[in-house]
Symmetry: D3
Subunit: 269 residues, 6 copies
């Protein structure tokens, strides 16, 4: 049986989620091209390994050659200095899109983040059209990626799904993750929907499992047909009900961004 793609590019392949995805996405392409600034080990069957700094425009141009579609998980994934974030996430994402456009790539899945909207309150319910409210410089760089991909779609027709990943870990490790948890299986299924829906235009999808208490309404991405199958409820026993309410000014529970809010200044609007 033929696979859907000849060559699928995964950036950030040495990162936390990249490692998870490396095997899971094999059924989708004859060749999976893996890219990272870090070490990715040896290429296995059906893999191509390209070590590459996303900030290196020429290297990224070559990286995109012959690629059918991209899963862009590369760059920095937590708070960092602006200089580092600008190189990896801002210049890097520009380089990727410009190369994709030059090579005629038609579809990108961009690993965005819930930290694009981390300054909404945990009592808010928002959707893809709610104005962005980043909670960190990292979050600002993901807002940039969403704006840039919107531009590339409107200007060139490259379709992008911006996946605002919640907390993709084996299981929730704190109460906030009971809301934001995104199981690996659901992550992979969301990527499948993002890659194989015939038309996606420019879509923003919140990446979370079917957890109770969710803050995010995915109805504007309904056409992707993504339905999470996991739920954090099965970990409920790990976080028993408690009447020990957080202090009134505890930003980590007031805002959706959680722990990202706890370092640095903490103005409370």
């Amino acid at each position: 049986m033929t696979k859907p793609f000849k060559r699928l590019l995964l950036t950030g392949a040495a990162g936390g989620l990249g490692k998870i995805l490396r095997d899971r996405i094999k059924p989708w392409a004859d060749v999976v091209r893996l890219s990272d600034i870090g070490d990715m080990g040896e290429a296995r069957e059906g893999e191509e390994i390209v070590q590459c700094d996303l900030a290196d425009k020429a290297a990224v141009f070559k990286l995109l050659e012959g690629v059918d579609a991209v899963l862009h998980f590369g760059g920095i994934s937590t708070e960092n200095t602006f200089e580092n974030i600008m190189a990896a996430n801002i210049a890097g994402t520009y380089n990727l899109y410009e190369a994709a456009h030059k090579h005629g790539v038609k579809r990108v899945v961009f690993a965005s983040s819930n930290h694009t909207i981390g300054y909404y309150k945990t009592t808010d319910y928002i959707d893809a059209d709610s104005p962005m409210r980043p909670d960190s410089l990292y979050g600002v760089s993901k807002c940039f990626g969403e704006s840039l991909s919107r531009y590339y779609y409107d200007r060139t027709g490259i379709e992008t799904v911006c996946l605002r990943i919640g907390s993709s870990f084996p299981e929730p490790v704190n109460p906030r993750m009971m809301v934001t948890w995104f199981s690996y299986d659901d992550l992979v299924e969301s990527l499948r929907c993002a890659l194989f829906t015939p038309r996606v235009g420019h879509t923003i999808l919140f990446g979370a499992s079917a957890n109770p208490g969710s803050w995010w309404d995915n109805s504007k991405a309904s056409h992707l047909g993504f339905k999470p199958k996991d739920s954090s409820t099965r970990f409920a026993a790990s976080f028993p009900d408690t009447g020990a309410y957080p202090p009134k000014d505890d930003v980590a529970t007031i805002y959706q961004g959680g722990g990202f809010l706890m370092s640095g200044p903490q103005y409370k609007d």
Copy 2:
């Protein structure tokens, strides 16, 4: 046990869906009156057969006599000349409502169509209040039927459910129908809800099974209590994932109306 209605009228009884419904609606009425311009065979037990051209006002007046409620599936159901559509769908629907009003009929289910909104994009998510955007003269005639039934409700109190049928076939036969498929069981259940909810006023209901990737939000018809039980997911294997994206200007995948867009001029807004 008594049945809910004495006499229920089904127009379009010789049509594709009419044939399906003929038996399924029997539990709802002592007598099912069947009407069509075409041949309907012999009347079976509990049936009345009335061959009738909907464009014939006097005939339609007689057709509605003694009727408790109407399932209006008659008329032309694909693109055609405007002259034919005007006779069957415009004059025909007017004749039906005027006769229903004169005879004091209280409830109509009007078989409308997703082609009333076929010019929305396949990346849009719409609801009953989204302005109509018909994709064909056929679709325009269904918009007319919705406007007319709204008028009859506001003016006379006849309640109507406009059922915007997706693709009601035994199973999906192309990728678009994976989104728009409306199983016969779900069709029948939607009619049951439309007929037996105590009050419906003038309600627009999208008729589709619980398919992934749906473009249609039925929350404004929540009071009908219609919950589809089928889903196109069980046919997923017939339409495997493919990375062969449609061309950027392929109207049949850009717009919800699908194949209806493929004949005649194809302006792309």
Copy 3:
């Protein structure tokens, strides 16, 4: 100085508003082609007279030949039998659009009516996206014209401004018209905006002067740049304040459609 158009078609030229417009629109075209089913007198300089039944498809095809743009004021403009309305307003408007499409006409102004939304209450404030609620068969035919012109825009690119005319008379003659009055000067200015804005797509514009108490929000037609200059306030003395409130069930003051609601059945939703 050259005029903007070579040939501008005005249908309904023998009607109430047609007569008013006949002279006012002359500055816009070298030739104004006038059409009506009734007598229009002799052609004056810069005019062409074409007596024509809009229900006659072939005649309408010829009528549109050589035309740059259309002001479609023809058809029936008050409540009438459905048969008459169907011929003049439904078949007639179809004939006009199909001929316009065949001849490559790029712009139409369609004289729609506030009776497309006459079943909103006089305490409602609505805009172009509020679902239609016609108050008469006449109103239903105008809903049809709006749906049809939407279809022709989406399918062929013919741009239309649907002008939902309020009450275009020399002055308000009853309290309702203090809200709905549309001075002739403002009518002409709205047509100018509708014809000469470079792009209008498919726009719905409520046609009323800057009257206090207006029910209609034109912000979705903002791009037309139409700003009424007249206001009914200068007629306020004709309708002095009164504490004689209308009865609670007086449909003519409950609903925006006013007097159109007063004949026939009067269900109150």
Copy 4:
């Protein structure tokens, strides 16, 4: 194992729902303090009994002493004279919040009612931000409680969940309750969510099981993570489909408030 609260106050403990809750809420607190104006019997293990008139400010002040959180089910729960409602529901609720504030209580669940919005139609679908439309003086007093608790949250930070209870009975006893039924299990689960979600701010939650035909959209309370497990569908056989439509002016089926509309004046807007 420690329980979440040291002391949880339940007002209205001798009322219909109070009796149900008395045992069910025991797992949540070392001590459940029960309060009512009526007789509550003897205190059982883990209970404190405080007979108390909510209209008695001093008594209520004492009642709140040492309390961690409150389930405020006290007061009058059906239509009554305004004098009685004002004492029990208006003064009573003020006394409760002022005492809660003085004692530093952080969380209240306020038993509000669907009668705060009973004048919406049964064909409407509303959410927590839909303007209130009470159907009775009782309903008006619940609107007051919602406004007051909003004030106490904004001013002092006391968090409240206003639970707009539908029909909490062992099972539906009329067709309306097929829509509004709130099983005891679901009621208890909603209270659990309201008490133990870390932050709730001021949240309005409609209290109903997962019944078909629901009029209420709880998405603005999504953060509570409340998912009803029961549904009225299992009682469907008790209310078979009928074509005996209610009269057009039957307020009890026109408006969501149902039977509350049937006594006294019945203006139909």
Copy 5:
């Protein structure tokens, strides 16, 4: 010339605004009935003086006898104890509406307040459907009046305009009033619109002059036709531009309620 009303009742006639209105409303009624708990001096020509405690149900019943319409400005108009507010504003407003209903009065203008929504931020722009957020017990009592009048409209058909008065003084006396100022002329004009628009249903109108920086959108009251003629701009010189920004936690400039927020607890959400 006859005046619009036979008898118009003004409650609160001895209050700040009552004194202003006493003379200004004379043109609207043959007899103006003035009511207050305080001294109103002697009755002048065309006046009736009725000293009356609004909390006295029997007295209020008599007060409404023979009245055509009511301007309800009575009660307490600043923060006070809950006991006083409950008597004057809660019981008082109930007594007024119940008496109005019993006597068949058709129209009430209820002097509500911007303090029903004082907890919105000064950077928010709200309208009549924005959920209420009172900033004081006084504000809560005005919310009650709005809910109660909604109930009386839906139940009995008494029409009410709730006028959420900003700051009605001779001129702005602080920077906040540059936004909230409501000139006496504009106040009177708003009352004229509220009394003489044929149908108002239940309308909420923000009472402010055409001041720059307004927080309030009156489009949902458009049918009243109220257009303020004054603006605070002419007092701009009294409040020169300053770069002395208020502290970040200064509740009086954060929230629309202004100085009402400055006494008591000051939680900042």
Copy 6:
């Protein structure tokens, strides 16, 4: 008379608008500090000149010292290479905000652009909450500035007005500018409002004069009290009405971004 600020910083002082503003803003500060990468001539009375590359973090840190408020007009203001835009507009704006935060500056006016939303159609009417749709890399960099300033507000409390400047020139020089023109007087008045409104939080303001045909709704910035006094109507004679409609696929008239759309790829969504 004292001026509102001690020291006001204007970046981009050698640019087109910078030169205009240099004199006009003098009344607002004892000292105006002027900054640019280019030559600004000699400092005049009340001026400080600081030549500075915004990409130079240390220089920008010094630039902000002692500053009360900032008008940030620096950076690149038309399409350019991404490298140049990243240095001037992305790194530059980060440097400015970080320095402002470190020095405790409380207010910034950020010169954003209509090119943040240039891919909306000229028939769309949008407001500050409409998702961004940049039409150029320049536009993407302005989206970045808006996201970054949102982050700095939420995190540190620095207030920003993002002024999405239309076309600020002496007069409109093409038909598009009849819609987007922003007179210098109106520009200055908008800056005055942005600087001196006591609280602005994070506000997005469209910068245009009161031109007919506007695409932009400023109601969400109502609190700024900005009312343009100029209008493009006085230049109407320069752009006479024409029936020469643009081609259907002419992106420069389809999209709000106008000429920015005319170079490079021109996908039409």
